[in-house]
Amino acid sequence: MDVLYFAWVRERIGLPKETVTTDAETVADLVAELRAREDRYDLAFSDLSALRVAVDQELTDFDASIKGAREVAFFPPMTGG
């Protein structure tokens, strides 16, 4: 699946998008896999209360299933308007 990062999450991880092969069942499982990779991921995901997630472009929460998902995006709380 494609994993996307926006705003300071993108800056901290150092890339806007990557393709990830995973057996993770939920967003939280995917986060745990990413954090185990490298310090920059561990740092970016260190406070989940500061992050929001969208699965297939719908806002959801970290307990959500990602089975069959094509796209998961992580970003800080939005500041539109």
Partner: protein
């Protein structure tokens, strides 16, 4: 209902005039525009707005559709820009048309509250000193959603 996500500036006057024209059954049109605000000391060089291209249009359409279902509205317009903007530039606008003003005002406020916290945009300030800062979401913006 018209939802536009674009990088270039928009003509607020022309958009408002076009939106308000040719309606015979709508007694009220409300417009709001958001403007890039300087820190107050001339210290802001520019505001950069990032968005989530695949999701933004859908998220805005969902918010607008919810407004149409909650209030008696004849039409809704949302224009939201992304990219780099200088102080004084217009970032976005919403317009609502309704038979009566209460619906038009309330729906416009609802749209603004949801655009702030549920549309995938992120603002980054570029100061004249060269420093940059991602604008943090405010608790009061999240709290504003609970009144709806």
């Amino acid at each position: 209902m018209r939802i536009v996500v674009q990088e270039p500036p928009f003509d607020f006057g022309a958009e408002a005039e076009a939106f308000a024209s040719g309606r015979h059954d709508m007694g009220a049109v409300v417009t709001f525009t958001g403007v890039v605000r300087d820190f107050g000391n001339g210290g802001l060089d520019a505001m950069e707005i990032e968005h989530y291209p695949g999701m933004t249009q859908k998220a805005l359409e969902g918010i607008a559709a919810e407004a149409v279902s909650r209030w008696s509205l004849g039409d809704v317009l949302v224009i939201h820009r992304y990219g780099r903007m200088e102080p004084g530039e217009k970032i976005m606008m919403v317009a609502t048309a309704a038979p009566h003003r209460k619906d038009a005002f309330e729906a416009a406020e609802y749209l603004m509250d949801y655009l702030k916290s549920r549309a995938p945009f992120w603002k980054k300030e570029h100061a004249t000193t060269g420093e940059t800062n991602w604008v943090a979401a405010k608790d009061e913006d999240e709290d504003a959603l609970t009144r709806w």
